[in-house]
C-alpha cells in the first residue's frame, strides 16, 4: 500500500499497482518482472531520500472471457448427500487429480505438501473435524497449526488444478469458484464455524481469521 509506505518512510520504496500477493506483477512473464525489478534496484542510485516512486506500468487486466464465468476445470455436481461434506471433498479431490497432475507437470512444481500428507489424507483429516472426531495433531503443533497447513494444502491443490485448464482464469475467478462452487469451499465454511465454537484457543484463532478470506465473508454477509 502506498499509504503505509509513505507513513513508514523507508529509505527507498517503489509503489506498484498490482494485486496483493504479486509484488512483481505477472507470473510467468519474466520480462515484466524484470522491468519491475530493475525499477526498484535503480532506486539504489538515488542521491538522497527517502524516495517513494510510483511504478506506472499496469499488469494486464484479465479479458472478458477470463472473468465471465469461471473457466472451472471441473464442474462439480453437488454430492448426493450434502450432509457428508468430507465424502464430497474426497470425491472432488479425486476428480481434480488429472488437472493437478497436469499443473504440476507443466510448472515442474507444486506448492502443496506443507503438512506432509497426501491429498487423500488431508481430506480425511479435515473430515475428521467435520465429523467431530479430530485426528491427532502433527508432532509439536497445536490443533490450529495442524489444521491450518492441512487447509493450505487443500486450497493450493484446488487453485493449482484450476489453473491447468485452458481459459487462464484470473485470481478472482479461482477464488470465486473455490468458495462458491466446490464442496471444499463448503467444507471450509463449515470448518470455520466448528473452529470458532471450539474450546481450543488455537482453533478459535484459526476460525476467526485464517480459514475464510475477508472478501468471501463479506460476499456471504458474515461480516
Amino acid at each position: 500500500m502506498r499509504e503505509h509506505t509513505a507513513a513508514i518512510k523507508p529509505p527507498r520504496g517503489l509503489w506498484v499497482p498490482f494485486i496483493l500477493g504479486r509484488p512483481f506483477g505477472v507470473p510467468g512473464d519474466s520480462a515484466f518482472q524484470r522491468r519491475v525489478l530493475i525499477a526498484v534496484l535503480r532506486l539504489l542510485e538515488a542521491p538522497a531520500g527517502p524516495v517513494l516512486e510510483d511504478y506506472a506500468e499496469e499488469a494486464p487486466r484479465p479479458t472478458v472471457e477470463e472473468t465471465a464465468g469461471m473457466a472451472c476445470p471441473v464442474s462439480f455436481e453437488r454430492a448426493v448427500d450434502e450432509r457428508d461434506l468430507g465424502a464430497a471433498l474426497s470425491r472432488e479431490i479425486e476428480e481434480l487429480s488429472p488437472w493437478h497432475d497436469l499443473a504440476a507437470k507443466r510448472r515442474e512444481r507444486t506448492t502443496t505438501g506443507l503438512s506432509g500428507m497426501t491429498m487423500d489424507e488431508a481430506a480425511l483429516f479435515l473430515a475428521s473435524y467435520l465429523n467431530a472426531a479430530p485426528q491427532p495433531n502433527l508432532d509439536g503443533m497445536s490443533a490450529g497449526e495442524t489444521l491450518k497447513i492441512v487447509c493450505d494444502d487443500i486450497r493450493a491443490y484446488y487453485y493449482e488444478a484450476a489453473a491447468a485448464k485452458p481459459g487462464n482464469p484470473d485470481a478472482a475467478a479461482v477464488l470465486h469458484w473455490f468458495w462458491h462452487d466446490t464442496a471444499a469451499g463448503r467444507a471450509f465454511l463449515a470448518l470455520q464455524e466448528i473452529c470458532v465454537a471450539s474450546d481450543d484457543k488455537s482453533l478459535q484463532v484459526l476460525g476467526g481469521n485464517f480459514i475464510v478470506p475477508r472478501a468471501i465473508m463479506h460476499t456471504l454477509g458474515k461480516h
Binding site: L37, L41, A171, N209, H218
Partner: protein, 157 residues
C-alpha cells in the same frame, strides 16, 4: 503494494486502519551503496516463504521469526505457509518469481547489471506486530553483513 482505490470500501478501511501502526524510520538512515553493477543483493520477503520441510510459520501474534532460503533452493522446494488468506497465492503457485524474484536477480547478476546475488535469502511472515519483529530483524541484519550483502530487496505481499 497495491492501489487502495481498487479495494472495496470495507477492505480499504481495514487497510487504512493499519497505517497508524506502521513503524517509522525515526533516524531515517541513508546509506549510499556501491554502484549497482557492484552490489550484492539479498531478498527479504514477508510472504511467509520457507523451504519445503522447514517448520511452517505459526500463529501471527507469535511468528516473529524468519526462515532461511538458500540461494540454490529449487523452485519445487519453495513453499508458502503465511497465515493470511487475504492475498493472492495463485501467482506464487504459478511462478515464485512474482513474489520472490530470485531467478530474475540471478539473471541480472549473470548480465552484470548487479554485482552478485547473496548466498542466503530470508522470509518473515508479515503479520506479527511490527515492533516485535525488530530483534529478529537486527539478528538478520548481522547475517546479511556476514554474507557481504550491500542492499536488500524487501518484497512484501
Amino acid at each position: 503494494m497495491v492501489r487502495l482505490a481498487d479495494l472495496p470500501d470495507w477492505e480499504r478501511e481495514h487497510m487504512l486502519d493499519k497505517v497508524k501502526d506502521c513503524a517509522g524510520f525515526d533516524a531515517r538512515p541513508w546509506v549510499k551503496p556501491p554502484p549497482l553493477k557492484q552490489c550484492r543483493i539479498a531478498i527479504v520477503s514477508t510472504a511467509g516463504l520457507q523451504v519445503r520441510g522447514d517448520r511452517p510459520f505459526g500463529p501471527s501474534a507469535t511468528a516473529t521469526d524468519y526462515r532461511v532460503i538458500p540461494g540454490d533452493t529449487p523452485a519445487m522446494d519453495l513453499v508458502m505457509s503465511h497465515q493470511s488468506v487475504n492475498f493472492d497465492r495463485t501467482g506464487f503457485q504459478e511462478d515464485h518469481n512474482v513474489a520472490f524474484p530470485l531467478d530474475r536477480l540471478n539473471e541480472l547478476a549473470r548480465e552484470g547489471v548487479i554485482g552478485s546475488v547473496a548466498d542466503f535469502h530470508y522470509s518473515f511472515m508479515g503479520a506479527a506486530p511490527i515492533r516485535k519483529i525488530e530483534p529478529k530483524a537486527r539478528e538478520l541484519a548481522g547475517l546479511l553483513k556476514k554474507d557481504r550483502v550491500d542492499a536488500v530487496l524487501l518484497s512484501p505481499v
